[in-house]
Symmetry: C2
Subunit: 181 residues, 2 copies
DNA sequence: GTCTATATTTCGATAGAC
DNA sequence: GTCTATCGAAATATAGAC
């Protein structure tokens, strides 16, 4: 709290005035962060574009956004890991206004898209959940594991940025390539 | 320290006797954990099997191991994120005895494998680093983000185990499928 | 609303008996 | 090696002036 107050340019008493307890402050900070973890992703998935374009849009959107907030995934993951009660806030934050109907809103259109392509013989079958998890993994993991990857691959900040820039180009083809029949 | 002592069935004084400071204990715990994050992965990659078999082996090995230690990725990621100085210990732990030559030992054979297949027209080009990052992402991310995914997908522990079991079957085909020419 | 000053609690480290 | 008891520091919460 001392450190936060100092960085904010105020004192602990003022933090207490606004948030009462450290836990309240942590919750408020988490809610803010969670609200921007997948900013456009859900909107894109629930939207009307072609599936191939959705993938490209999500990759670009997510990598650009996380490049500007590289600590976000690590923070969210760490917080939800250490405090399981944050899980509720997380889905609430992602869903925005409408709280509980988030899953059908995402997976309904996604499943329809996939089914149509499978029926047309232009895509191999995949569960919508797997589709989502794999896409998130490829986009988010490098940021979540950023310091680890930098150590493993011997990269500095610039090298990591280059790695992400390359992924922006490669990932859509990689991901969609995996789903070819 | 109190909590750790209680779970260990001893008291704080004994922890102090063995580890002197909290930082020493944290370091020792991290070194242990880091040593088993990618137990066989490096051995497999540096080994002599066919590339397709290496992928299948790594997926099976990693998902089985992490199923038994699901908190491991979240812990490692959190620790390295909050304390960058852990990065050194991490690569040291992964490399085992031979400390600094870990990258050529992994990426040398991997690059040769990929190049041969690209030359033969049976694989589309991919940088060894991308190969590694994508494979790690697909294997490790679901565990790192476990509580998040459980909340998003509405899974309990059993449901998550099923998700992982399905990935064991799906991932090799997904990953190798992405690399078809 | 914002501050200074302080009370209260928690935690890491240590002393010393056995 | 393992314990009980306690010190000292740090952090969180609170009181009260402005």
């Amino acid at each position: 709290m001392q450190e936060i107050a100092r960085e904010a340019g105020v004192n602990q008493a003022l933090l207490h005035y606004y948030f009462r307890t450290k836990e309240h402050l942590a919750q408020a900070a988490f809610a803010r962060a969670a609200a921007q973890l997948m900013p456009g992703v859900i909107a894109v998935l629930a939207g009307a574009a072609r599936l191939e374009d959705k993938v490209a849009q999500i990759v670009a959107l997510e990598l650009d956004h996380l490049s500007r907030a590289p600590y976000l995934p690590g923070y969210i993951i760490g917080e939800v890991t250490h405090r399981p009660e944050r899980a509720r806030d997380l889905i609430a934050a992602m869903a925005g206004q409408r709280a509980e109907d988030i899953r059908p809103r995402i997976f309904g259109p996604l499943k329809a898209d996939i089914d149509a392509r499978v029926a047309a013989g232009t895509m191999r079958p995949i569960a919508p959940q797997s589709f989502m998890v794999n896409l998130m993994a490829l986009c988010i993991f490098p940021f979540a594991a950023r310091p680890m990857l930098m150590a493993m691959l011997g990269l500095d900040a610039g090298g990591f940025a280059q790695l992400i820039a390359r992924r922006r180009d490669e990932l859509p083809a990689f991901f969609l390539g995996a789903l070819r029949p």
